[in-house]
């Protein structure tokens, strides 16, 4: 997909809560000795997807000095909406002081809800229906106690302010490609507290198949090859999958290194590829091309090609996500379980 009018990223921000729990601490309760990652983040008792989305958006707006009165859309992609009915975005409209003349809705497509939100905002901005919009991917993922995914279900989010190129962007959207099929590898029925999944089925037929198809689709339609890109960021449900898909697609370890955060923060679900993208933008230089490929169970993948501009230096997120990660502190399983509401007073 290529917009008629040039659009890109005006500003960005990412946030993770300050608490993490070591995989070992979870494993010691459930009797497991090998782990998919090292640590995963979890939200404090007073955090949720809305507060995380707020932080990411606040950092994006303040770091880029975005004109709040020209933002006319705020879409949040998440699978842990605090309300089943009441959009998370409305709180951000009033909490961030955005104009009430604004579009807002919550998006759901498992872990690619955030990039779905981005595609919509690109479209609205490119069509000149609105000047600027914010797309956010954020989650406080629910990990079923004792389940495999409890080791990686984490909390975090990233926000992207999108505008037309003539407003000055730090990265231009060159093209995007989305690939979706009915592949239920992981799902959550209405009213259920925790999702369910089909274990190894989430690999080849789901994660790998859809990402490979969206990225190859993007490459074929617009003539890209892996070496065109300085960096690549993939959805990161654990440490292995993004490294394996990168290698399958022909990307090197160096290309994915800055954006690979899952080993230390876990899988932030709708935030996953977007937080990785923010970490990559934190180090990118003008002229760098970046591939962003999300994956959402159900299933689908959105692939984007961006080129970074000279505006990256002045618009970089402050503080950068790795600084935010460096202030994280560990807690034990009991604290984690109480804060996550798995037991209630």
């Amino acid at each position: 997909m290529k917009p008629v009018n040039g659009v890109g990223i005006y500003g960005y921000g990412a946030y993770v809560p300050q608490y993490y729990i070591e995989n070992e601490a979870i494993g010691s309760i459930w009797g497991r000795i090998t782990y998919p990652i090292k640590n995963k983040s979890f939200p404090s008792f007073d955090e949720d997807t809305i507060t995380i989305a707020y932080e990411a958006a606040r950092i994006a707006i303040e770091s880029s000095n975005a004109p709040k009165d020209r933002i006319h859309a705020v879409f949040i992609g998440t699978e842990s909406k605090p309300y089943a009915v009441k959009p998370s975005g409305t709180v951000l409209v009033d909490a961030l002081g955005l104009s009430n003349k604004i579009l807002s809705a919550d998006y759901e497509f498992a872990c690619k809800a955030g990039t779905e939100a981005m595609e919509t905002v690109f479209g609205l901005v490119a069509s000149k229906m609105i000047d600027m919009g914010i797309a956010i991917g954020a989650d406080t993922a629910q990990g079923r106690p004792g389940d495999e995914l409890e080791y990686t279900a984490a909390a975090g989010g990233a926000a992207y302010i999108i505008s037309r190129v003539e407003d000055g962007v730090l990265a231009v959207l060159e093209a995007s490609y989305s690939y979706v099929s009915d592949t239920p590898d992981f799902w959550r029925r209405s009213g259920e507290k925790y999702p369910r999944h089909l274990y190894r089925f989430t690999g080849e037929p789901a994660y790998f198949n859809h990402i490979i198809n969206s990225v190859n689709g993007l490459f074929e339609e617009y003539g890209y090859k892996p070496s065109d890109f300085k960096y690549a960021v993939f959805h990161q449900p654990n440490a292995k999958f993004p490294q394996r898909v990168a290698s399958k697609l022909g990307f090197t370890k160096d290309q994915i290194a800055p954006g690979l955060l899952s080993p230390v923060i876990g899988n932030t679900y709708s935030g996953s590829s977007l937080v990785g993208f923010a970490a990559t933008l934190d180090v990118a230089k003008p002229g760098d091309k970046i591939l962003l490929a999300s994956f959402g169970s159900g299933a689908g993948s959105d692939a984007f090609a961006f080129e970074v501009t000279e505006l990256i230096e002045e618009r970089r997120a402050k503080p950068p996500i790795r600084d935010i990660i460096s202030r994280m502190v560990p807690r034990d399983y009991a604290t984690y379980v109480v804060y996550r509401g798995k037991i209630w007073r």
Binding site: F45, D46, D323, I324
Partner: protein, 132 residues
């Protein structure tokens, strides 16, 4: 307070909106209708700075209704960057690591909810500044 008064005060609560006396410049949070320093009623809304320092603090251990779901929390007398003093609840900090002079910044957090099926009330708490 009910859900509706929570809604009524949401902007002040989300963005630290107080009032400033147009005559003498004194700033107040929460809002008031008359300047207690010079007596003027000419007050305009103003968004307070989001960063400041802890002047004094205490730890509330007898937990009142609405704030009794978790553990003791710290309430601090905070002096914001413009000199305005307010009370704020602290978060993201170990209670034994709080100290006078600590630099803090405002962030949006869940304050309480009206039960599991009721509304969630958000507001500002203060946390140690994220690294810059």
């Amino acid at each position: 307070m009910t859900e509706i008064s929570d809604w009524r005060y949401r902007i002040e609560r989300y963005r630290l909106i107080g009032v400033r006396c147009r005559r003498c410049g004194s700033v107040y949070y929460p809002k008031r209708s008359k300047c207690i320093k010079c007596g003027s009623s000419d007050l305009e809304e103003v968004e307070l700075p989001k960063r400041g320092r802890v002047v004094e603090y205490t730890i509330v251990r007898l937990l009142p209704d609405r704030y009794n779901h978790f553990h003791p929390y710290a309430v601090a007398l905070i002096e914001l960057d413009d000199g305005t003093r307010i009370y704020g609840q602290l978060t993201d900090v170990d209670l034994d690591k709080i100290h006078e002079g600590m630099e803090v910044e405002a962030t949006l957090r869940k304050l309480y909810e009206y039960g599991e099926s009721g509304q969630i009330v958000y507001g500002i708490k203060f946390r140690p500044v994220l690294s810059r």
